[in-house]
């Protein structure tokens, strides 16, 4: 511990801005994650339901015609939030072998749940640098290819299912832990009960992982059935139910 006041004097507004920005971007990304899963899982209702949701986000029902660029725009904003959040969160990760070793020894010795969970939060965050970026880049550059057949072909014939499978676990664990930590960090709601919050965090991850697995299963099933016609766009007449 260095006792010098001057050496550690806080400089300007930036530390506060960065801390708030880290929390705010994390909250926005978690909210997007929940909405995203709700839209994606509409495939469980029917192919037409997912088709309708996809076209809605392309502005078809508001503007009269589909504009996939809107999806690209949303993906660009999410990517920007993602990069900013990652850059800010990186400041908290161990910077070298010494810091990593100090954390690992401490976590192993202490056996404290919230300390160990931070290790999972950091590890899943690190994995998202790669997994999340691949997915977001695909949505950014090929926004028109979202639909019952289009998405299912990407999952199965495009061999994206292994990545989505890992991404699902990683992102839902990270999101659940992040929201949990956020509530405790700012003590909001004020005086929130930690045991209850921890149960909620687990329920969040379990619910979204289950929903994601079932949805991914549906895309795989459609993708296998449609493999011979991969690349073909979905229309109500061409639905797997109609074949």
């Amino acid at each position: 511990m260095d006792s010098s006041v001057e050496a550690h004097r806080a400089g300007g507004a930036w530390p506060a801005r960065l801390d708030v920005a880290q929390s705010a971007t994390g909250l926005c990304l978690a909210a997007f994650l929940m909405l995203h899963m709700a839209f994606v899982s509409s495939i469980l209702i029917s192919e037409r339901a997912f088709y309708t949701v996809a076209r809605f986000f392309e502005g078809q029902y508001l503007l009269g015609t589909s504009h996939p660029a809107i999806v690209s725009g949303v993906a660009a904003v999410v990517l920007l939030l993602f990069v900013v959040h990652a850059a800010l969160a990186m400041r908290k990760l161990p910077h070298d072998q010494h810091q990593l070793g100090a954390y690992r020894r401490h976590a192993a010795r202490f056996g404290h749940a919230d300390t160990s969970l931070w290790g999972w939060q950091a590890a899943t965050g690190f994995a998202l640098f790669f997994l999340g970026t691949i997915h977001l880049y695909g949505m950014l550059t090929r926004p028109a290819l979202i639909g019952p057949f289009e998405s299912a072909d990407r999952v199965w014939s495009g061999r994206m299912w292994p990545l989505y499978l890992v991404l699902l676990f990683v992102v839902e664990v990270h999101g659940g832990l992040g929201l949990y930590r956020l509530a405790l960090k700012w003590d909001w709601p004020r005086g929130v009960d930690r045991t209850r919050l921890r149960r909620l965090k687990t329920a969040f991850s379990v619910f979204f992982i289950t929903l994601g697995l079932v949805s991914l299963g549906a895309y795989v099933r459609i993708g296998i059935a449609h493999a011979d016609h991969a690349g073909e766009r979905w229309t109500p007449a061409l639905s797997t139910a109609g074949r």
């Binding site: 010098s4 806080a10 530390p15 506060a16 801390d19 161990p94 056996g111 300390t115 700012w186 005086g191």
Partner: protein, 243 residues
């Protein structure tokens, strides 16, 4: 009816002495447990009967002075407030990490705490000298209670030893430092403004460095609500920084 046979305790103590060539090593001591035995009593028994060279600190024996902090099965706690009855028949004791080791279980928390106090200027800052003969200005009982609550900290160092951030970043002021600023921030006798507090803890060595792992909150021998104190300070410093 005969008295129950006392438990035979095996206590593994991490032995070390700075400057000594021998690497730190665990040494096992076996003693019989007595009724109401605390770790403080057990350590005195070891020193009196088995090894007079064993080093550990104590003053008050009542959880007030904060001298006997140590890792008990990897978890920071006070030797004088820990009953052996609450532990298994075999357990480990080690010095608190982060602080300089004097020998065996004795660490120099004083040097660290002094440096922290000097850096955070943890005393009342007033522009006028106090009139020692005058009656002090009145204070609302609720405010006095809140100040007293934060002031119950005994600087034992357990929160620092339980803090993942402090293990990785030696200049992090930890819960003990942040709790002190939260305490002086409440005190109307201290004329410092939030801008002054921000200059002391508005950075990553201060409140924005806290990753909310909550080891501090969970081990505090005085049961201080460090989680609330740090969140309270974080909200205040974020508002100050964004002003």
């Amino acid at each position: 009816m005969s008295a129950p046979t006392p438990r035979r305790l095996t206590i593994h103590i991490l032995r070390s002495a700075p400057g000594d060539d021998a690497t730190p090593h665990f040494e096992a001591f076996r003693i019989d447990e007595s009724e109401g035995m605390t770790l403080f009593i057990a350590l005195n028994e070891i020193r009196a009967n088995l090894d007079p060279s064993l080093q550990f600190d104590f003053v008050c024996r009542a959880g007030i002075c904060g001298s006997c902090g140590m890792l008990i099965n990897g978890r920071p706690g006070l030797a004088c407030s820990t009953l052996t009855h609450d532990l298994g028949t075999e357990f480990t004791l080690a010095p608190l990490p982060v602080f300089a080791v004097i020998g065996d279980l004795s660490v120099d928390t004083g040097r660290w705490m002094r440096a922290m106090s000097e850096r955070l200027e943890t005393w009342i800052h007033a522009t006028t000298d106090a009139d020692l003969d005058a009656v002090e200005p009145r204070m609302e009982p609720a405010l006095a209670e809140a100040i007293y609550e934060a002031d119950r900290c005994i600087e034992c160092g357990c929160c620092i030893a339980a803090c993942g951030t402090a293990q990785m970043r030696p200049d992090f002021v930890g819960a003990v430092g942040l709790n002190k600023i939260a305490r002086f921030r409440l005190d109307p006798r201290d004329e410092r403004e939030d801008a002054d507090h921000y200059a002391l803890v508005g950075n990553d060595d201060g409140v924005f460095g806290c990753m909310t792992l909550l080891g501090c909150h969970d081990v505090c021998p005085k049961g201080l609500s460090l989680r609330s104190q740090i969140a309270y300070l974080r909200r205040g410093m974020a508002a100050q920084g964004l002003r």
